[in-house]
């Protein structure tokens, strides 16, 4: 190993260097030699930039620039014309072992340690998350009801196993709808995950669907979940949900939410008409006692639209329902 001591005073060097620097001081105002511009092209700008910047912004330190410029000028001519080139390391940088400690600590021991540490410092420890976005009581004309909308994942930065479930119903009746999705979620951009998997309906004439969707954040911070479902009966449907958090204070948060369900065809046994099937518009006001625990109140309007509305009327249901909701949003 080297034994040079960094802090050792290098008196031999000191004298000429100091003299040179004083010369710099005495130079006084230096003409601008560089026309600094955006530093897009590597090395050359820094020197140029620094000097320009400092000369204009920090006259107090201008002597530094001049000294620096003088040295640059002596060593390599005008700064801006002689950038430090980018390039590969010299050949000797590639010599020797790939992992320097292996020969001293043991190849196997280091390999094991390295595997652990690589994982630890690469954010590759899988994480889990479960959230009940909506778990609520719904007061409305007729029988009051309930709704759950939960999701969770397990995985790393790029790939996750993602579970979703939602369902609703009226008290004293069989659940109106209930479903579970099991998805593989894959990050396809900074803000988007592609999700694909299976959805199983648990009520009514049960269906199994293939799922293809995206989940993420669009500009203006709307969280969006959009998916297409192809059922084992060949029916194609879709669902788009969007919500946004509006902070009134750090803990009191208003969340507008919208959802539309679409269908490519009439599915009479499910009461679904082709085109726009249902639309929901809601607003919830929650208070985050902790980030993880936030009771809320809200109101949500649901409409069945077009043929779906006709199906609803035919069985004596109101195609338009207003829900007054109280619930809790929680995650862990």
């Amino acid at each position: 190993m080297r034994t040079a001591i960094f802090t050792l005073p290098l008196l031999a060097l000191a004298t000429p260097a100091l003299a040179q620097e004083h010369a710099g001081h005495d130079m006084g105002e230096q003409p601008q030699t560089a026309t600094p511009d955006a530093p897009d092209s590597g090395a050359m700008d820094h020197n140029a930039m620094d000097h320009g910047m400092m000369d204009r912004n920090q006259p107090d330190h201008s002597h530094m620039d001049h000294a620096q410029m003088e040295q640059d000028a002596m060593a390599s001519g005008p700064v801006a014309e002689d950038p430090i080139p980018q390039g590969p390391p010299p050949p000797e940088a590639f010599e020797g072992p790939a992992f320097a400690a292996d020969a001293f600590v043991g190849v196997d021991r280091m390999a094991t340690s390295r595997t652990q540490v690589v994982k630890q410092v690469s954010g590759e420890m899988p994480v889990y998350w479960f959230q009940a976005e909506r778990a609520e009581y719904r007061a409305r004309a007729g029988k009051d009801g309930y709704l759950w909308d939960v999701q969770g994942y397990y995985g790393g930065d790029i790939d996750k196993l993602w579970l979703k479930s939602e369902g609703e119903g009226s008290f004293g009746e069989k659940p109106e709808s209930a479903e579970v999705q099991v998805l593989w979620s894959h990050a396809i951009g900074p803000w988007w995950d592609l999700q694909t998997g299976v959805r199983q309906d648990l009520t009514g004439p049960t269906r199994t669907h293939a799922v293809l969707g995206v989940q993420g954040i669009i500009p203006y911070e709307f969280e969006v979940d959009a998916a297409a479902f192809l059922s084992d009966k060949g029916d194609l449907t879709g669902r788009i949900e969007a919500e946004i958090d509006q902070r009134i204070t750090q803990r009191l948060i208003l969340q507008p939410r919208a959802e539309v369900n679409l269908s490519a065809q009439d599915i009479p046994e499910l009461g679904i008409g082709a085109g726009l099937d249902t639309a929901e518009l809601g607003i919830r006001l929650r208070y985050e006692f902790a980030r993880e625990f936030a009771p809320y109140i809200g109101v949500e309007q649901e409409w069945k639209v077009g043929d779906s509305a006709d199906y609803a009327r035919a069985v004596g249901e109101d195609p338009s329902v207003t829900n007054y909701v109280v619930g809790v949003r929680f995650w862990f």
Binding site: D50, N57, I84, A98, A100, A101, Q250
Partner: protein, 596 residues
């Protein structure tokens, strides 16, 4: 665990009082005497050539917070190592704790096998094992040690003071080590998980309908449009952290005694896991005499911002009052660590209230005006967002491609990146105009109405050993995705580049340019070396540092002479950035330095 040992503290103080006139010649610790400058919860000063440091699981209590911690030799912080330049050092690291451990000697020039980074230079020391460190102490100054594992934020850290062979070129009568840290009752694994799954989990200073931030509606919409938060200053905040000075929380009433008329050297170490500190002593100017352990030409200032792992030595001369407040305010102003400099025990200084939280600026977004004359950096990074108003002005710069309010700004123009930077899900921003921000005082300190230190003011006290011009430039991009909480160099986490280190040849002189494509300030640390900040200092006097803060959306350069063969960690010292991918290995070859 440790309780406030006021009697011991007072003993140290009284002892320190007797040092007047001796300091700088032969401090007490060099003479092997008990006592010291460390004002903290009852831990020891370790001196000598053979030390034992024992890691234990522990509990820690501060204020109303209580939780798991790690201690070394029973204290938090662990022992102060008081060493002498030129001595040999042997340390037996004994692990009694449940997790694997190590000690990294931060800023010390050691053989790479002694550097203490599991997976790179050694295997972690498991419970019941002992590891022997052995190396010569080649340098002098203020440094620190810490685990290179997730034990670090739990208390596995402590100061190092190395007394020089030649006296320092400044005088003082008394000295104190002030180690600034952040401690949370939440385990590091849990904090990391919250950062991954939560959105702004620890930030209770976000914009809201009722905030007092000087933002127009248009500016608020612009931030939302970008899917970014102007309040994204610190990932982990006072909502879970208590800010400690030598292990003492704000309620512990830490006092640093002095006699009127004394010059006091404060050796200040930012040993925090995730917190940048704004350090000031209202009413008392500070003369900065060393940065990262290396002496600089003294420069007087009123405040300075410290990135994680940086150290600054300052000299103060209290006058005109009995007591002064030492304030280490978290950069996001969610809390502060405090101590009282007092010439009469019990005499209290008034602590200033927390200042209003700062906001990110145009410059932090990488949109400094391209004309360097138009007070691009300093002006714009300055006030709270009045840089925003400069948007139309910046357009005139002609270089702001992609900036178009109507169609939305392209904050992620990946065509600006060099081809080796991977633009995947882990990269959410590309700095459009990453100007050199060496002259920046740090987030939130541009308009504080007094002097603030910046990197351009640092000038090495003595000429540096290598006056060659670098032969090549190496550009490295700092990249990340705040939402997913992924951090990396050049868009690639460590796992993707384990066998593609950053290579330097032995004794090669390289200029390294760090480009920050994120909106956070990153304190970047290279193990085993000092590098010189390219800051416009006079020839041969670029300041030597081991850690460099790269301001958001900007760039910074250092010159490195690769004098230490081996494998060296290179990483962001925000611990949860490091542990989510902002980590690389620097290799210096050949291992024998070319001597056959």
């Amino acid at each position: 665990m440790t309780s406030l040992n006021r009697r011991k503290f007072l003993h140290y103080s009284a002892y320190g009082a007797g040092l007047a006139g001796l300091a700088g010649v032969m401090p007490a610790w060099a003479r092997g005497t008990q006592g010291g400058t460390l004002a903290r919860k009852g831990s020891d000063v370790l001196s000598g050539e053979h030390l034992t440091m024992t890691v234990d699981d522990a509990l820690f209590t501060t204020g109303s917070r209580r939780g798991p911690a790690v201690t070394i030799n029973g204290t938090l912080p662990g022992p102060l190592l008081r060493l002498k330049q030129g001595q040999d050092l042997t340390v037996d690291l004994v692990n009694n704790a449940s997790e694997g451990t190590s000690i990294h000697w931060h800023g010390m020039l050691v053989p790479f096998l002694m550097d203490g980074v599991p997976g790179i230079t050694m295997a972690a020391v498991e419970r019941g094992e002992t590891f022997r460190y052995r190396f010569p102490v080649r340098q002098a100054g203020t440094y620190w040690w810490h685990a290179h594992t997730l034990q670090e934020p739990m208390g596995h850290y402590g100061p190092i003071v190395i007394d020089p062979i030649e006296p320092d070129p400044f005088e003082y009568d008394r000295e104190y080590v002030l180690m600034l840290t952040d401690w949370s009752p939440m385990s590091p694994h849990e904090i990391m998980r919250k950062l991954k799954v939560g959105e702004g989990y620890f930030n209770y200073q976000q914009t809201s309908w009722t905030d007092k931030y000087p933002l127009t509606g248009e500016q608020r919409r612009m931030w939302a449009q970008m899917r970014m938060m102007p309040t994204d200053i610190s990932d982990v905040t006072g909502s879970t952290y208590t800010f400690l000075v030598n292990g003492h929380g704000p309620e512990d009433g830490l006092e640093l005694a002095y006699n009127p008329g004394e010059r006091i050297r404060l050796r200040i170490i930012n040993g925090a896991a995730m917190t940048f500190f704004n350090v000031r002593i209202p009413g008392l100017p500070m003369t900065v005499v060393a940065a990262d352990g290396q002496n600089i030409r003294p420069v007087e200032t009123d405040e300075f911002q410290m990135g994680n792992a940086e150290t600054y030595d300052v000299i103060v001369e209290p006058k005109g009052a009995e007591a002064f407040a030492f304030v280490a305010e978290a950069m996001d102003r969610s809390g502060m660590g405090i101590a009282t400099l007092t010439s009469r025990p019990g005499s209290k200084a008034a602590f200033p209230p927390l200042r209003d939280p700062p906001l990110l600026t145009m410059a932090d977004m990488g949109m400094s005006a391209s004309d360097p004359g138009a007070d691009g950096m300093n002006g714009m990074s300055g006030g709270s967002m009045h840089g925003m108003d400069g948007m139309s002005g910046a357009d005139k710069g002609g270089n702001m491609a992609g900036m178009d309010m109507s169609g939305g700004m392209n904050m992620r123009d990946t065509s600006l990146l060099p081809p080796n930077v991977k633009a995947g899900p882990g990269l959410d921003m590309v700095s459009m105009n990453p100007v050199d921000r060496m002259g920046d005082p740090g987030i939130g300190l541009a308009d504080v109405g007094h002097r603030v230190l910046d990197y351009r003011q640092l000038v090495a006290a003595k000429p540096n050993p290598d006056d060659r011009l670098p032969t090549r430039l190496k550009e490295i991009h700092l990249t990340g995705n705040m939402e997913r909480y992924m951090w990396s160099f050049d868009g690639q986490k460590f796992s993707a580049v384990t066998d593609q280190p950053i290579r330097f040849a032995y004794n090669e002189r390289v200029r390294v340019k760090l480009v920050n494509d994120t909106m956070m300030a990153h304190p970047i640390h290279l193990h085993g070396h000092f590098f010189e900040l390219v800051n416009g200092a006079p020839p041969g006097h670029q300041p030597m540092k081991h850690t460099i803060v790269v301001q958001p959306g900007g760039s910074a350069q250092f010159d490195l002479t690769a004098t230490e063969p081996g494998d060296w960690a290179f990483h962001c010292h925000l611990i949860y950035h490091m542990h989510t991918g902002m980590f690389q290995v620097v290799t210096v070859r050949p291992l024998d330095g070319g001597d056959q």
